[in-house]
């Protein structure tokens, strides 16, 4: 049974189409990554799943409930919006208690869960501190804890690690793995491509369309392309030669990554070799990273590189 089923979902803000025929399923127990650049439609999609925005066209079911049943859906899911949305003038403990009350968690049960969440987030020593005075990483941990206080079956996280330092991001993902271990399904969006590697399955979204939805391994093999890394003292000149020959040609630090379809790889390399005669360069084949795959899918797309 899929936890989320989306069929042919479209959403319009007035005349601007934010979601275009989105079909997607999230399997029970998985961490599903929704990966795409800013304004790809990630937030819109998540808000529709939470019932914050209506389903205009298409069919959405969450935990076997129709999206019109949003009040019931809301009591079963946990949601963390993109922006930090807890009460900055309330303390860590007050925020947790407030959300426990909103979900009608009995007082005794609440205290037990708060202890569990403290143990897991290491927030106990800050329990009296106002949320506004927490660091970025701790804020996200608190928001995650608040979203978990009623033991949701599905957790929807909108760019939870955006703007968080790398160490805290890593800790945050460890926490997600732990939550998954307890049997909670997680749908998480991110603009960071390296985080795709941490998901069981990912959906690539751009311009309101789902480009691909599968495990990373399957996406890689379906992609069916090779990536080569070139380096040379004069990168600019090399870039000029490579760009018209490759399917995608990007600068990564002092290397140039080019993407060539598997089938024509050998042939293309020969052509490249003949064209770049006289220029000093080195190259090697590298494993395609999520970033390469994205860029070739979404080119031209504007990316925040982590």
């Amino acid at each position: 049974m899929n936890t989320i089923n989306i069929e042919h979902l479209c959403y319009y803000y007035d005349k601007v189409q934010a979601l275009d025929d989105v079909s997607l399923s999230v399997i029970e127990g998985e961490i599903h990554g929704l990966i795409g650049p800013d304004s790809a439609g990630k937030t819109t999609l998540m808000r529709i799943l939470c019932g914050l925005m209506p389903t205009q066209e298409g069919k959405v079911s969450v935990l076997s409930l129709d999206s019109d049943d949003f009040m019931q859906i809301r009591s079963l899911i946990g949601y963390m919006p993109q922006r930090f949305s807890l009460y900055q003038d309330l303390s860590v403990a007050e925020n947790l208690k407030f959300f426990a009350r909103l979900f009608n968690v009995p007082a005794g049960e609440r205290d037990k869960r708060m202890q569990d969440l403290y143990a897991f987030s290491h927030l106990e020593e800050f329990s009296g501190r106002r949320a506004g005075a927490l660091s970025g990483g701790m804020k996200q941990k608190l928001a995650l804890s608040c979203a978990l206080i009623h033991r949701p079956r599905l957790l929807i996280l909108d760019e939870p690690t955006y703007g968080v330092d790398p160490v805290s991001r890593q800790e945050f993902w460890q926490m997600l793995k732990q939550i998954q271990g307890d049997g909670t399904t997680i749908l998480v969006s991110t603009p960071y491509m390296d985080e795709a590697e941490l998901c069981d399955r990912v959906s690539l979204i751009n311009g309101g369309k789902i480009l691909e939805s599968d495990t990373l391994t399957n996406i890689r093999s379906k992609w069916n392309r090779k990536v080569f890394s070139f380096s040379a003292p004069n990168l600019k000149q090399l870039f000029g030669v490579l760009e018209p020959l490759a399917e995608s040609c990007q600068l990564f630090g002092n290397e140039i990554h080019i993407v060539i379809p598997n089938a024509s790889a050998a042939q293309s390399l020969d052509i490249i070799k003949s064209r770049v005669e006289g220029i000093k360069y080195r190259y090697e084949e590298i494993e395609s990273s999520m970033e390469d795959i994205f860029l070739s899918y979404m080119n031209p797309g504007v990316w925040r590189v982590s």
Binding site: M71, P81, F99
Partner: protein, 364 residues
């Protein structure tokens, strides 16, 4: 058991206690408003320039003018221009008032045992005009006593502002205005603030219902607004010596009703406004002007055009003013105040239901 309403209430109380701005609005604003307005309206006037057209010019009429001149309040002079030019004098602010003694002054006094003089007052400053009118009455009474004559009847004809109320009536009016303004202001930002901060998105993704949010937000502010009511009442009573004849519990009950109306109005605004700033502007304009103009605070409703009279029916202060003037000055009880009380109950119910209906459990 449903914990959501108490949860919202508790959270609001924490917000209030931790936000110095709210506390400033609640405590300092009413004190300042009442004191400033109250003193400004109570200012005494000296050196009133009064122009006399004495068409009789007899010993008796000169005696009356002399009585005016003998007080510290009036400065007498005799304008040259014909009486038709009076308006021009008013425009130039050369005179505050004119005393017109008709040619048959002595004659009617003897014949009919009473005489009429006319007093024309520039009431572009209504407070000053009230004073001038009252001082004039006092002078005429003195004249009557001194001459042992039968009373002269002063027929006042007030220009520019047809309506004048005595100072006692101002304090209840100010109480009505301050309470409605502050209450509406407080709740107007209660929801727009959460929308702006993004916290609304977070609490909406819970099984909370619209009425739970609205009621949870109104309740703590009732207490706050009642504290304000006590504050302004105390200042009115001890600083401005406004009598309080009626019963305090009756006052408290109706005041609570009135603040619920105002708080609900604020919440309704909050569900409409897109930003805190817009909400505050709306709350102030929707409460201050109608309360001043259309409640009977400054101008009596009976003398308004029919269309405006109809509009006053939608101004809560109209009913509340009737109630507190009744309680404070006449000692009215529940029985006499049923009708305005019911009007307020109806308003509170309609506004609350509208706010709940307007409140969307989805994002815009």
């Amino acid at each position: 058991m449903n914990r959501r309403i108490p949860a919202i209430m508790l959270k609001e109380v924490n917000h209030i206690l931790r936000d110095s701005r709210t506390l400033m609005i609640v405590i300092l604003m009413p004190i300042m408003q009442l004191v400033i307005f109250g003193y400004a309206m109570n200012m005494e006037i000296r050196g009133i320039r009064i122009g006399v057209y004495d068409y009789r010019d007899s010993a008796l009429s000169r005696e009356l003018v002399h009585k005016f001149a003998a007080t510290e309040s009036f400065q007498i002079s005799y304008p040259q221009k014909p009486i038709g030019e009076m308006n021009r004098y008013f425009y130039q602010r050369a005179f505050h008032a004119f005393l017109i003694i008709p040619a048959d002054f002595d004659h009617t006094m003897v014949r009919q045992n009473q005489a009429e003089v006319q007093l024309i007052i520039d009431a572009s400053d209504p407070n000053a005009a009230t004073m001038i009118q009252n001082y004039s009455f006092a002078v005429v009474n003195m004249f009557n006593d001194a001459e042992r004559l039968l009373p002269i009847r002063v027929k006042t004809n007030i220009l520019y502002n047809p309506d004048l109320k005595s100072a006692y009536f101002f304090v209840p009016g100010l109480i009505a205005m301050i309470l409605v303004m502050i209450s509406a202001l407080l709740t107007s930002i209660a929801i727009s603030k959460e929308k702006e901060l993004g916290t609304m998105e977070q609490i909406l993704v819970s099984p909370i219902k619209a009425h739970e949010i609205i009621i949870g937000k109104v309740l703590p502010y009732i207490l706050l607004a009642l504290i304000d009511a006590m504050l302004v009442l105390l200042i009115g009573k001890y600083l401005f010596k406004v009598p309080f004849v009626g019963s305090f519990p009756v006052f408290l009950a109706f005041t609570m009703l009135y603040v619920i109306v105002a708080l609900s109005l604020g919440l309704l605004i909050s569900t409409i406004a897109r930003s805190q700033q817009a909400a505050m502007m709306m709350a102030i304009t929707m409460t201050m002007l109608p309360t001043m103009m259309l409640s009977g605070f400054m101008f009596p409703i009976a003398s308004m055009p029919k269309a405006l009279q109809l509009i006053t029916r939608f101004v809560p202060a109209r009913y509340y003013l009737q109630i507190i003037r009744g309680i404070m000055l006449k000692g009215n009880g529940f029985a006499q105040l049923m009708q305005p009380g019911l009007a307020l109950i109806l308003m509170a119910a309609v506004l609350l239901i509208l706010a709940i209906k307007r409140f969307s459990l989805r994002l815009k």
